[in-house]
Symmetry: C2
């Protein structure tokens, strides 16, 4: 945990003066490793369990900071791997991916439930879902609203269970020897980045440019023309297909989301984390986050509809919900197309 905040900031400023690739990379990785260790300490101090009263929010923040730095370290090791000790960086990368994946799951289930319940309320129109179903004449009329309420309860049950399991798994992971090995490796990184001999002569920019090329190549493969045509109905094409697995048409978009993130991290290495945000990258990335979230929410609604012995009204509401989220997927692709093809504006 050697370099403090001020020292890191100074090293970042030095980059402009043409410091060699190794120094810049080292400074970035050390800063991220320091942040990782800080977040880990915070997570331990706040109890590491979201069920505590006061510590809950700090724990969530700490877990988010841990994921954030783990992703940045992992992405940077990937993009600039010729500058780093191969064995070491190829050993730690899958471990960081495991960690950030494990930590992300709890948050993802919570966000998915929020998204689906919010959609159910939106789809039920301006009037709130009645707490009690009036008997008699209005019973049949209220059927589908009951369906929406039942669908919400079913999703809440299923996703809360999944979230609780993810929470336990995260806690277990943070106490495991596997995690301690990761933490030890990150502690090494904070004091001394294992650079390769190439780091003294090579340059960062070609490697960052290669990451950008991988992004733009992948975007070229996306169906951007149809995505830019509103209401193309493509996202729902498999809406009733037999396969409940994530739609194969989503995969290239998810891949672009990851490549965009790598590109963003490479820019952070080059220009510093304090550099002005590229609005186009920001908007494009947010559209792809929304794409991923909506796609997973749609899958969750479809999965819930496969629960045995649910009422037809519940299944109907889940069908409407699934289609709604698939349209969100389509809307997100449209938003991405708009953001990406827009000329770079603003500050960067």
């Amino acid at each position: 945990m050697t370099p403090g905040g001020a020292g890191v900031a100074k090293q970042h400023l030095d980059r402009a003066a043409g410091s060699v690739a190794g120094d810049t990379l080292e400074a970035y990785l050390q800063a991220q490793a320091t942040e990782f260790l800080r977040a880990l300490r915070q997570h331990r101090e706040t109890g590491g369990t979201a069920s505590h009263g006061n510590g809950a929010e700090e724990t969530v923040d700490a877990a988010r900071a841990l994921r954030r730095s783990a992703r940045r370290i992992s992405g940077t090791l990937h993009t600039f791997r010729p500058l780093l000790d191969t064995d070491w960086s190829e050993g730690i990368r899958p471990e960081l991916a495991w960690l950030s994946g494990t930590l992300a799951r709890e948050h993802a289930y919570a966000a998915r439930l929020d998204r689906l319940l919010e959609a159910l309320h939106r789809l039920s129109g301006p009037s709130p879902i009645p707490a009690q179903v009036p008997s008699g004449a209005r019973e049949e009329k209220s059927n589908l609203t009951v369906g929406a309420a039942k669908a919400g309860a079913l999703l809440e049950r299923q996703l809360t269970l999944a979230r609780t399991r993810a929470h336990s798994a995260a806690l277990q992971a943070l106490g495991s020897s596997r995690f301690h090995a990761v933490a030890d490796n990150v502690a090494v990184l904070a004091s001394e980045v294992p650079l390769s001999p190439a780091a003294t002569t090579a340059h960062l920019k070609p490697l960052a440019a290669a990451a950008e090329d991988r992004l733009t190549d992948a975007i070229t493969q996306l169906p951007l023309v149809s995505a830019g045509h509103p209401y193309n109905s493509e996202a729902l094409v498999h809406g009733l297909s037999a396969d409940p697995a994530p739609h194969p048409q989503d995969a290239p978009w998810h891949q672009v989301r990851l490549l965009l993130r790598l590109h963003r991290y490479a820019r952070e290495v080059l220009y510093g984390t304090e550099a002005p945000v590229d609005v186009r990258l920001l908007d494009s990335g947010q559209a792809l986050d929304r794409h991923r979230d909506a796609a997973e929410a749609a899958t969750a609604a479809a999965s819930a509809a496969r629960t045995p012995r649910i009422a037809p009204a519940t299944a109907y509401a889940l069908g409407v919900l699934h289609a709604d989220q698939r349209h969100e997927v389509e809307a997100a692709r449209f938003a991405f197309q708009r953001a990406w093809l827009r000329e770079t504006v603003g500050t960067s």
Copy 2:
């Protein structure tokens, strides 16, 4: 049935030379009445029942031509009512509306079923719905595809029944004394249009302009700003509300559809049925037709989901289908906004 095709065409050409309002209106109404009587004769000759082999298509064509001219006569009597004998035209208008409504229903149910089955196939993805469900391991996976097939069968049963009933009702209507009174009135119209004294001095254009004003006023009331914003999610806002009745938000759009039709007919009176079509009016009208069709199809899917004792998989498929058609409603509003706000292009 006095004026033949050639005579009518000549009268239409005379309009440009400044003939008085009454003559132009008379020529248009006589042409439409003649067309009505021709279609009626054709309908009777082809048997008047769609179940015959050869005659079926001609009967459908004849019924369409009957509806077409009935709508035009009724609309023209409405727009230009100060030029016509009030008692007579106010007596015949509801009768023409009853007739075209009765004749339209059979066609509407058939078109609705086609639209819904087409959507079910589109939503089931590129691979066709399997004719047989494989047993064992894949049984659960095929669940929702079975749902789509069952939903299709249910809609087919319900809408075919409705269509058959509408067919019988149309046949019964065409044999009724009420219908014969309408036909007699239209025969009068074909030989002598009951004009009011004002018809010799008044002008058509102010009345046609008033019809256009009613249209543009109604369009001003539409939420065109949000409709022009793709993926606004407004059409599905009541997707899960308790009320299965047509969405109240659709009504102003349906009203504009009718006013657009009246405006189009008024233009026919002024410029003749052979005048070049205004592309903007055509596109706007088609968008509103699609809006109406999708809204009614969405309602049919929601109604089918209320059938007692259906399987959850069937209800789920109907939910997806309902949401899909409500998104078609939203897409149609977007298309209307685009068509209407576009500058008048082309030939008119």
